[in-house]
Subunit: 275 residues, 2 copies
Amino acid sequence: MRRPRLGHIQFLNCLPLYYGLVKNDVLLDVDLVQAAPRDLATMLLSGELDIAPIPSIEYARHAEEFVLLPDIAISSNGEVQSILLLSKEPVEGLDSKTVALTDTSRTSQVLARILLARHWGVSPSYAEMPPDLASMMRDADAALLIGDDALRAYWQQSDLLKYDLGAEWTTWTGLPMVYAVWAVRREFAEQQPEAVANVSDALTASLAYCRTNLDAISEYAARWESFPVAYFRSYFDALQFRFEPQYREGLTRYLTEASAIGELDVVPDISIFGA
Amino acid sequence: MRRPRLGHIQFLNCLPLYYGLVKNDVLLDVDLVQAAPRDLATMLLSGELDIAPIPSIEYARHAEEFVLLPDIAISSNGEVQSILLLSKEPVEGLDSKTVALTDTSRTSQVLARILLARHWGVSPSYAEMPPDLASMMRDADAALLIGDDALRAYWQQSDLLKYDLGAEWTTWTGLPMVYAVWAVRREFAEQQPEAVANVSDALTASLAYCRTNLDAISEYAARWESFPVAYFRSYFDALQFRFEPQYREGLTRYLTEASAIGELDVVPDISIFGA
């Protein structure tokens, strides 16, 4: 028997979890492989990984191959800070204007398209491009940014209007938003259910640890990353790692809306490990 | 400032160190990249890593690019167990016979060639091949194995004669043998000496931890790897991670002998970080 191969997202949003994994010695019992979310999905599909956090939209496209861990996701219930639409004018006026979409996240692109089409009722044209705000705003009237770029914009003074897409989603639907889920290869879950349960427990314990140590984690993050402690504290407060039933409902709603605007063929049934 | 990128050897020999790194929370302050030793050398040369354990012979070929951490190496002073020459007859009779060399380790290949030529005074022909003992012994009269394959052979009953190349080296030279060194890109050491000192201290602390916890580490290893606890205990006792002056002398002697048999162009001066 070998150690389960667990993927880890190498972005700021998973830094609190990483801190919990290290402090709880989880890395002795899993092989941790760090990569970008889309690459993790590819590695999970090819069998290079057993369990990994993958973008909600990637999960939906291959749902029959996976079961999901029950107690963890990357989610928000209101503000998320790291997924922003920046606009030269109120979004309701973007009809037939151009919106630049960062080419770094499919799940966020689809979220922006959903909100613009269904919540705000406008039909802009879209242009996918690298996440450089200056050049995005030269070519377009609004721009979707995520991650570090979004956090920077969130805290910066600007003439642009800022829409936090986590907050907008929850205002519109009354539901949380789920950006990524921890997927297990169905075959691995069937063959080694005990190993999956162990990893699930270890992740849950690490999350509990990180929830009670957000100050220390924010200071740690500020030591190695380019934002002050207070920004991290605020961001890590906004980020939820929850996946209880209301969050699963939020995921299904997101996938249903994605399907309604033609960004997803089929809304899958969600299989939860152990359920 | 970003976290130093530290390479880690993904083999059994570095498992005790990994245990120490996890238990000491070192993985919060470095980006650990696990790979095979030769790949680590390539990544260090290309600037993808800042500090990494690399094979002694790879170090010697690019010594001007590196400084070495002062207090850590993979070394033995006597038996090593994981580098074995298995032979159908006493090695002194291998003249003009064929010796199969595993294609997985240059440093061990050179060590075998040195001992055969200079210690035992024989001139066999050599054939590099994958580490499969049965097919090696079909095509050759002796075979060099390393790592798991060697450890398995070390403990197995066999009609073959077994030569532990760590023990043979020390019997012959009176010196320790150094298989791998922790190399720092010279440029990184000059630009961020404090970061290098921190990593060096963290590794030293992790080694101290692992020396006092060899029983727990052996039990941990046996949980995930294919050998019983007692084998690991014996192996981790044989393995030294030392690099004090007598070990550096052993390294220089090894490189001098490698040069004498034509396996190395120049014996480099060894630059130690902070010296």
